[in-house]
């Protein structure tokens, strides 16, 4: 599929297929998907409405057992949530626990793993600093704006110190300004940490702006329509990158591919 002979893939999806239900009511969500993601790569996954992007992400995250095939993280077959992978959900207001403070939300996965208290505090501080929320640990998530809440969710994922960061349409319910800020934040985080990021989105501009590679999916039953290498210069910038003729060409190409597949996904799945 995607040529990666020289570098080691951290994530591999091999002949993945997901069918919901059985018999006549069976719905084939994912037909067959195979791709791999290299260490430190930023991959965006886009596709038409209802194409099983979330299903794919849940299979990678170990929240859903696929019907056929498998996914591998660092060479290990995923049969439950992998330890070296963290997931950022779209619904930031439901993925943060309202009875815990920002600090509590960032550290509870660490506490559950019996990470020593002092290390929890250090990792929490570092993660909050990385997302620009240092000093917010005593606040409750519901006291913060949507964009800040999603930053907390990202900080929680970072403090977990995963090898792969999965993001499921993380900015879909944010206003345009917060979305642009967070797009840049994720790029900065990726640059600082060298994390591998797999980013599902329905926003074509966002996918081209963020990614090293964009994987375009087909309608159900989902397969890969095309993989595009994004060779835009880094660090990227909301103004200059988006005015780059190469950016415009790529976004048009992705848009054309998706339009030929059907309706654009406006509301997630």
């Amino acid at each position: 599929m995607s040529g990666s002979q020289q570098s080691t893939p951290i994530l591999e999806v091999r002949e993945l297929g997901v069918t919901y239900g059985t018999g006549r009511s069976a719905v084939e969500a994912i037909g067959e998907l195979s791709f791999s993601v290299d260490l430190g790569e930023f991959v965006c996954i886009v596709g038409p409405s209802g194409c099983g992007k979330t299903t794919l992400l849940k299979s990678i995250a170990g929240l859903l057992i696929p019907t056929r095939g498998a996914t591998y993280v660092a060479g290990k077959r995923v049969d439950g949530p992998p330890k070296n992978l963290a997931l950022v959900f779209q619904e930031y207001n439901r993925s943060l626990l309202p009875w815990l403070t920002v600090g509590g939300n960032v550290t509870f996965p660490l506490a559950a793993q019996n990470v020593p208290k002092s290390e929890q505090i250090d990792r929490c501080k570092a993660a909050l600093a990385e997302v620009g929320l240092l000093g917010f640990d005593e606040k409750y998530p519901w006291q913060l704006s949507g964009g800040m809440q999603q930053r907390v969710a990202i900080a929680r994922a970072l403090a977990y110190e995963p090898a792969v960061l999965l993001m499921d349409e993380p900015f879909a319910s944010l206003d345009a300004q917060s979305r642009a800020d967070l797009e840049d934040l994720v790029l900065k985080v990726q640059r600082d940490t060298g994390l591998t990021v797999v980013f599902v989105t329905h926003d074509i501009d966002e996918s081209v702006y963020e990614a090293d590679r964009v994987i375009v999916l087909t309608q159900r039953p989902t397969t890969i329509r095309q993989v595009l290498k994004i060779n835009l210069p880094k660090p990227r910038d909301q103004i200059t990158t988006k005015a780059d003729p190469e950016f415009v060409r790529l976004r048009t190409e992705v848009l054309t591919l998706i339009k030929s597949e059907g309706r654009l996904d406006a509301h997630g799945e």
Binding site: A61, G62, L63, G80, P81, K83, A86, L87, F89, E91, N93, R94, S95, L97, P98, W99, F108, P109, A111, A112, Q113, Y140, W142, Q143, Y160
Partner: protein, 260 residues
């Protein structure tokens, strides 16, 4: 500001009530409605001295132990029923059946099982407390947001961690709403258990005072029961306020976001 206002009203009404009672009853010649002055004198004598250890303390301690047992068992079984739909289907016809029987009707059974005294009263009180807690805990656990559970799962939380870090806190508003009802039920059960089947306790005391025509004592008993209920509820509100301050803030924020 608002809390002060509510506190003020909460104080003014009883003060007015008891003042009126005092003044209107002062020259009462009716043996059924003795002057409040005499009732209060009896109240102090009885509850601070003569009956403190024999009646007040046993009632309070039975109430508290019954409440504790009922809450612990109710939360435990309610959590299991909330988590496992099969268990809920199999067990709930039975719990609904027992729940429908008034506590007073269970007194004879409790007497056969435990005789009179601590065990029998605690049994009745915990049973009365158990059901409202069971129902509210089951509902609370069932309504835990699916996304919280997916977050917990994706971060590899064990079942115990999921239970204590996610499910119980998320269900806490429901559980505490059940506790409020349970406290009232528990107090009623305490008085009933005393009245029907003991030789001591608050319920016994007011019946005994009435039958031996010590009517100021009976009134003093009523005031004490009211006071206990008031204090129990006050203690509950105090605890709830601390445990659920996040819930008020979160609900307010959610509502504001929806109105936007």
């Amino acid at each position: 500001m608002m809390r002060f206002g509510r506190f003020g009203i909460g104080l003014i009404v009883p003060v007015v009530f008891f003042s009126l009672w005092w003044v209107l009853s002062e020259n009462s010649a009716s043996p059924y409605f003795p002057p409040l002055r005499r009732t209060l004198a009896a109240f102090v004598e009885i509850w601070f001295f003569s009956r403190f250890f024999t009646d007040l303390l046993p009632s309070v301690s039975h109430f508290l132990s019954g409440l504790t047992i009922g809450v612990v068992l109710g939360v435990a079984l309610g959590t299991l029923m909330g988590l496992f739909p099969r268990l809920r289907r199999d067990v709930s016809p039975m719990t609904e059946f027992i729940r429908a029987i008034p506590t007073a009707a269970l007194v004879p059974l409790a007497l056969i099982l435990f005789g009179t005294g601590f065990a029998m009263e605690t049994f009745l009180i915990s049973l009365a407390v158990f059901f409202p807690i069971l129902v509210s805990t089951t509902a609370g656990v069932r309504s835990v947001d699916q996304v919280y559970l997916e977050v917990a799962q994706s971060y590899g939380l064990s079942f115990t961690d999921r239970l204590w870090r996610i499910i119980i806190p998320a269900a806490a508003p429901h559980i505490l709403a059940g506790c409020r009802v349970a406290i009232a039920f528990g107090l009623a059960a305490t008085v009933i258990a005393n009245m029907v089947a003991s030789g001591s306790g608050l319920g016994f005391f007011i019946v005994d005072a009435q039958t031996s025509f010590r009517l100021p004592d009976m009134w003093a008993g009523l005031i004490m029961i009211g006071l206990l209920g008031y204090l129990a509820n006050g203690a509950f509100v105090f605890v709830e306020h601390r445990l659920l301050s996040w819930h008020r803030g979160w609900r307010g924020a959610t509502r504001a976001a929806r109105a936007e």
